[in-house]
Structure formats: structure tokens, C-alpha cells
Amino acid sequence: MFRIINLTFIVILLTITRANSLIEIDITRGNLDPLPIAVSPLYQDDKSKKNSINEIKIENVGSEISSVVENNLKTSGLFNPLSKDAFLQKPDIAHLKPRFEDWALIKAQALITGKVTMENKKLKVEFRLWDILAGREMMALAFTTVPSNWRRVGHIISDKVYERLTGEKGYFDTRIIYVSEEGPKTARVKKLAIMDQDGFNNKYLTLGNELVLTPRFNPTSQMVTYLSYFKNLPRVYLLDIETGTQEVVGDFPGMTFAPRFSPDGKKIIMSFAKDGNSDIYTMDLENRIVERITNHPSIDTSPSYSPDNKFITFNSDRSGFQQIYIMKADGSNVKRISFGKGLYGTPVWSPRGDLIAFTKLHKGKFYIGVMRTDGSGERLLTENYYQEAPSWSPNGRVLIFYRETKSNDKGEGFSAKLWSIDLTGYNERQVQTETDASDPSWSSLLSN
């Protein structure tokens, strides 16, 4: 009897669910083209224009800021800024209330409008991000700063727009520190230099008297650590970019390589050769205590912390060839993760934590690639004659590295330039620098 009741109940239930079931369609593909976006010049009235000429010698700073934004969004590879010639609405009216039909007509899906005022030697920038198809405002912000900071305002706007439209933090309000190189290959003058991520505001931090190598940013501040040779002895330095103060962290014996900050900025991790054996060490910046992490007869170098401080990736030739390994932060549980053909080096843990970038040498070619932290999913993003030293953007989506060209027998034709590539491997661009450049390191976001 109960069985019959149960069966009837199930049948009724099934009938009801069947009758109420809706068509479900799975959309598993989409358009991977960059998002079409219109960056309207930021409106500036005549009075502000006069003031800006007096202050920063630029007449239409609003238009300049919009160009900075446009350029940033374009180089990210994720946006397609539309030509300003196609715009139908004037900037002042567009900022108040855009005619969405006009912008939809030129196939824009998002619109940036804004207004710039300059009074009492202060630059005030407002901007709004509009969703054209939904016909609504997505974001509205205003910044006040000193007029000379106008480029940074452009970068901050770019970051905000990027974050709102892609769901992850931007990387435009950042700087890149690198080694500037000049002169013939055999007698290069190497200086420490810093610039905005788009190549502007270039500054030299050292004079070029000493050889400088491997500058690395502190992920939590505007502090840099680098290696410099003083009287043929390697020294690890700390440099505060904001104040310009510099200090020697210590003299280390033998060959010292690649000092790098831990993600919390409290330690420096590096490798140096003690008693002829290169191992990995950390140094606490507060008490200057040096701790040995690896103890192996092989050469262990290029250490890099995971963003949670719990693991370290490094390269070692303990298997006979140079390969990538990971271990716990205390040096235990050493595990090899790279098993491909060729030699692997310079592993760098992504700030996102999901990937490790590396340089690979195989059959005379250099590759920049990424793999998951367990060594799976190896992807080679770019191949060239000589390239190395990848450094992650703070959002873990773009890598900057340097590439050298082959010189002829006389040593001519040699050059070293900075390049960036995103994780898709398709958006590869040269980063403009005044001189030849190598060993780049990307800072964290300045506005954090």
C-alpha cells in the first residue's frame, strides 16, 4: 500500500517538475575581442585652461589625461579605445548626461567622461564610467592633487576603470625599476633607473660609477633592493625611492645573486656561495639575522617567495640539470616541479599565487613561460634569441622582461630592451626606454 502511495507521489512530483522545467541553454563561448570603449576628452573650461598653462605649461590637461587613460587601456590588450573622430557628442554635455544612442551607434560598450578644473593651484579631476548598453552610470570618482601629478591621475583613472570592467586590480599606477645600459658591449655603463610603467617620468638613481644588478621592488613599499659591486665585492643595498636614502644591508662572501624581498617586505631572500657552495639564505631586515634555508652540494639560486610567505621557489642543478623546485619557507619538503626538456631558471611566483614565471633555455633559444605551482600546465609565452628575468605586474596578469639582440663579429648591433607580455601570450609590446635596459622589476600599486 505504502509502495503504491510512494510511487504515485513520485509520479506526481516528476510530472510537476517536468511541467515547470524551463529551457536551459549553456553559453560556453564568447567573443574574445577587446571591449570597445570610448574615452571622451575630459572637459575643461577656459578659466581652468589659462590656469593650467600658467602652472604646468599644458593648455588642455583634460585631453592629455584622457590620452593617458586611452593608451593604458589599449596596451592592456583588453580594451579597444575607439577613435575620437567618431564621437558625436561634445565632452561637456557627454559628462552631464551622455546620449547613449549616439555612443551605441559607434559600437561603444563603455564610455569614460570627465571634467577638469584648476583653482588655487589644485587640480581637480572628476570622471564617470558609463555602461552604454544598460544606459547607466557604473562609477563616478573625483581626485584633487597638485597639477604636476596629472599623469598619475590618468593612471589612477585607468586602474579604476580596469578594475570595474575586468574584476581585478589594475597595474597602471605603478613604476618600473631597471638597469639602464649605455656604451659598447664590452664596456657598458650600468645605472639604476626608474620610470612609470608607460615609460614616462624616467629618472636615474645612480651615476653609473659602480656596476648595479638585479634591482627588486619591495611589494609593500617604494623600497628597492639591489646588488652593486664595490671594489669588486658584491654588496646588497636598500634604496628608498621616496626619500633617496640608501643603505648597505651587508657584504656577503663569494658570488651573491638576486636579492629579493619577501611578500611582507620584512625579509630579503638571496643566494650566495659560502665555502664554494651556493645556497639560499634569508635575512631579517629588522635584526639583520641571516638564516640558511637550503643545504645541498648543488647550486641553488634565484629564490622567490609565494605571496602567502609559506613557500619558496628556486632553481637548482641537483638533478644534474638546472630545474625549478619548490619548498616550504623553512627549507623542508623540497620538490622538483619542472620536467620539460631544456634548462629552467629565474622562477618568480605570481602575486596572484596561481603561477610561476620562468626563463627556459632549449636548443639555443630562450623562452619566457609560466607554469602552475605544481609544475603542470607549462605554457611558453614568447621565444627569442636571448631574453630573461621576468617580473610580474602587481595584478599577476602581465610580465615584463628584457630581450637582447645578437651582435655581429665587431660587437655591433647589440641592444637590450624591455618587453611586456600578458598571460594570453598575444599581447607582446616593447616598453619604451631612453637607453638600453635590462633587469626590470615592477612595483606594487602606488595608490595602495
Binding site: D26, T28, G30, N31, Q109, G167, R352
Partner: protein, 322 residues
């Protein structure tokens, strides 16, 4: 004289015999009969040209299974049940005749019919299927009662084969259409058939739009493909999003008959404003833009009730490196 003639004829006969038996080009080649190729007839809607992602394949397979069910279930439409009582006893005889007729003529159609009948046998409603069209005709026959006896006889005569055809036509919609055309031509020639042709047209309309057995929970694959293809082009996937399991946005749509969107509802809208779910919000925004860009959707011309409400699952996991 005779001897010479005999020798000559004998000689000629010998030459002819030799040429027939020994010369190869005179001999007839045996006919090369090509081997029989079995052809499976499938509805176009069962095939898709759109390459699909691995995850979608499961769904498509599911849909295929449901479509197979549909094939076997479509033949006995529900209206037959309603007309059960009105069934005329003589129909059984007619059915038998029709069966015999179909057996005698071994055409492709009959073979298909056989196959489908075999399928039908698996479905417990074979008798109803045979009685399907009967009652409607009776209704339409009523005005013809006014006509004189001779006309009635003629009508009965013409009806018999037509009824048989109708039963064949129940097999699939395509065949129905074919035969409908033939009847229309026949009706033009023989005006007595006109009424019957009209009956059939009505019947087809019923089966297209208001068939109660139609499965409202599915679209045919070609209809689904058409919808997908539109949305694929409209959806600009935010490719900067890092991979996570949260890259699925479900949207419920209510559509007007012309395909324009009456109501759009995000099924996980709570996530939209949850702190820490900015990536989901970004994806949801892109989905909203895609739907607005595709508005109005190009929808199937029939079966509004089927696609009036639908859920779209925007899954970016495969594209963003899952």
C-alpha cells in the same frame, strides 16, 4: 554445288563459333552491381554544425536523448485520446487494408514506416496512433451528408486510400508536408478531394502550434544552435578575469513573441553586491551587456510557449583556462 555450299556454311559457322567462344571482346561483361548501402534518415534538427566545448557536449547528448524520446513519442499525438469514443468500428478493417497495402509495396517510405512502427511498438500506445485522424474527418463529413448518395459513395471511395496515407504521414512531419502537397495537386485535379485536403491542412496546423504533447522543456538542436550562435557574437568575455569556479552566471529571460526581452533576471543577483565577489559582478555585467546587444533575439518562428521563458548559463570557465 551443294558440297561447296555446305563447306562454305560450315566454315562460316566455325568462324562465328570461334569468335564467340575465343575472342574476349565479343563476350558480354557481367554487370557490376554496386553493393547496397544502407542510408539512415535523420531529421536535420538532430545534427549540429556548431563545434561545442567539452562541457556543452554533455548537455547536447542529454538533449539528443530527449529528442530521441520525442521521435518515438511524437507519432501518437494527444488529441487521439480525446476522440477515442467517437471511433468508428470500420476503421479496423481500413487499418488492416492499409497495412496490407503498405506491405505489398516495398518502398522506402514503407520501410521507414516499418522501422518507426517497430519503435512505436515499444511505446505503449499503438492502437491510438492508428485511430488518430479519424474523428476530425467525421466532423468535416457532416456537411457532406446533404450531398446525394452517389457523391457520398464517391467520397468514401476516395477517402479510403487517403486515410491510409494519413496513417503513413503520422510518421514524421516532413512526410506529412510532402504528402500534403501531393493531395493539394490531386485536389486541384479532382475537386472532390478539396475538402479532404483542407482537413489535412487544418490537422497540420494543429500539430505545429497547439500540439499538447509537444515537449515544452526543449528546443531542437538547430534552434538552440541558432540562439547560441547569436549570443556567442554578442558576449565580450572579460578575458582579464583570473580563473575561478565562480565564473558561471545564470540569467532567466522572459521573451516576447518577436524575440525582444521582456524581463531579465540575474539568478544569483545577491552575489552581485557581495564584497569580494567583484569578479562575479564583472562577469554578470558582461552577460547583461551581451543580452542587451543581442536584443531582440532571433527566435524560432513557432512554439512561443516553449521558449517564452528560458535560462541562459554563461560559463566562462572553459574560456578562461579551467
Amino acid at each position: 554445288m551443294y558440297r561447296g555450299l555446305l563447306i562454305s556454311s560450315g566454315f562460316h559457322v566455325a568462324i562465328v563459333m570461334v569468335s564467340i567462344l575465343a575472342l574476349p571482346f565479343v563476350a558480354k561483361k557481367p554487370l557490376d552491381i554496386p553493393p547496397l548501402i544502407s542510408v539512415e534518415l535523420i531529421q536535420i534538427a538532430e545534427k549540429t554544425n556548431i563545434p561545442f566545448a567539452p562541457k556543452a557536449s554533455k548537455i547536447i547528448e542529454k538533449a539528443k536523448k530527449e529528442n530521441n524520446k520525442l521521435l518515438s513519442e511524437q507519432a501518437p499525438p494527444k488529441k487521439v485520446k480525446k476522440d477515442k469514443k467517437k471511433e468508428v468500428q470500420t476503421d479496423k478493417k481500413k487499418n488492416e487494408i492499409s497495412k496490407l497495402a503498405s506491405k505489398k509495396t516495398p518502398t522506402i517510405e514503407n520501410n521507414i514506416e516499418k522501422l518507426k512502427k517497430e519503435k512505436l511498438n515499444a511505446v505503449p500506445l499503438p492502437e491510438k496512433e492508428k485511430q488518430k485522424i479519424q474523428p476530425k474527418e467525421e466532423k468535416k463529413q457532416k456537411p457532406s451528408k446533404e450531398v446525394n448518395d452517389e457523391n457520398i459513395k464517391k467520397l468514401v471511395e476516395t477517402k479510403k486510400p487517403l486515410l491510409d496515407e494519413k496513417k503513413v504521414k503520422q510518421v514524421s512531419e516532413f512526410e506529412k508536408k510532402d504528402k500534403l502537397d501531393l493531395n493539394e495537386i490531386a485536389a486541384l485535379i479532382d475537386k472532390k478531394k478539396e475538402n479532404l485536403a483542407e482537413i489535412k491542412q487544418d490537422e497540420d496546423k494543429i500539430s505545429q502550434s497547439s500540439d499538447e504533447t509537444m515537449d515544452y522543456s526543449t528546443l531542437t538542436l538547430s534552434e538552440e544552435d541558432a540562439l547560441k550562435a547569436q549570443i556567442f557574437t554578442c558576449w565580450s568575455v572579460p578575458i582579464g578575469l583570473p580563473f575561478s569556479e565562480d565564473l558561471l552566471v545564470r540569467v532567466k529571460l522572459q521573451l516576447k513573441p518577436d524575440g525582444s526581452i521582456e524581463k531579465l533576471e540575474m539568478l544569483d543577483h545577491i552575489k552581485m553586491n557581495t564584497p569580494g565577489k567583484e569578479k562575479f559582478r564583472t562577469l554578470a555585467d558582461s552577460v547583461r551587456r551581451a543580452i542587451q546587444l543581442c536584443n531582440p533575439l532571433k527566435v524560432p518562428t513557432s512554439g512561443y510557449e516553449r521558449w517564452k521563458n528560458m535560462i541562459l548559463n554563461f560559463d566562462a570557465r572553459d574560456m578562461l583556462g579551467g
